[in-house]
């Protein structure tokens, strides 16, 4: 089981802030492909990977990051703090 969190317009397009899933995906990219194939709202949110950022266990990471042992991933647009 893995927790997936969504923020900003990614959260809005998917329609929920977080969910817990069972997945066999090996990487973040695989998980994104799996979700996009499953439902249109994911496909819409994940259409342009260059507009997305990912954190793995609360550290900025990339789409090739393996999911083995990971408890929480987050997918969101580029950050706009400060």
């Amino acid at each position: 089981m893995i927790d997936i969190l969504y923020f900003a317009w990614v959260r809005e397009r998917i329609g929920l802030p977080r969910e817990r899933l069972e997945t066999n995906a090996a990487t973040v990219a695989d998980l994104i492909a799996e979700l996009s194939a499953h439902e249109d709202r994911y496909a819409a949110a994940f259409a342009d990977l260059s507009a997305l950022r990912v954190a793995v266990d609360q550290e900025l990471s990339d789409f090739n990051a393996p999911l083995t042992g990971v408890r929480e991933i987050a997918i969101f647009p580029p950050m706009t703090g400060g």
């Binding site: 900003a8 900025l60 969101f76 950050m79 706009t80 703090g81 400060g82």
Partner: protein
């Protein structure tokens, strides 16, 4: 080193005074304060800031530790609000204390550049005509390259 993430307003002047009072041996104090500006159309009603609780604190802590290591800093402070902000509200603040000004300035700019593009905050503008997520500025990503 203090990292504060809160919805409540803060008093930048009082924070600057308190930070300076405890920075023993400092000759140079730099502060940066970010203010909610009106938008181009001049009809901003509020700014909403979403963040990623847990990761936010980790990211800010990590940046502050990096700043303390890379420059000769005596202390540093990061305050960042989330939730609903009104025009002219302070959004966030960074303060650095060092013996000499070059370290205090460089560390404050480093913290700001990282905070803009690497801390999990997302801004949204609320206007009469709706809400808009703020797009990242190319200059902000480019600014990271100098460190």
């Amino acid at each position: 080193m203090r990292i504060i993430v809160q919805p409540d307003p803060f008093d930048m002047g009082a924070e600057a005074t308190a930070f300076t009072a405890t920075a023993k041996g400092a000759g140079a104090i730099v502060t940066f304060t970010g203010i909610t500006r009106d938008n181009a159309a001049g009809d901003l009603q509020a700014m909403e800031i979403e963040h990623y609780p847990g990761m936010t604190e980790r990211a800010l802590n990590d940046m502050a530790h990096q700043a303390m290591t890379r420059w000769q800093l005596i202390d540093c402070l990061v305050i960042h609000r989330h939730g609903r902000l009104l025009p002219n509200d302070p959004i966030m603040m960074v303060a650095t204390a060092a013996r000499h000004r070059a370290d205090a300035f460089a560390a404050a700019e480093f913290l700001m550049d990282y905070l803009k593009s690497r801390a999990p905050f997302w801004k949204r503008e609320i206007t009469a005509s709706g809400t808009d997520w703020v797009a990242p500025r190319d200059e902000d990503e480019a600014a990271l390259k100098r460190w």
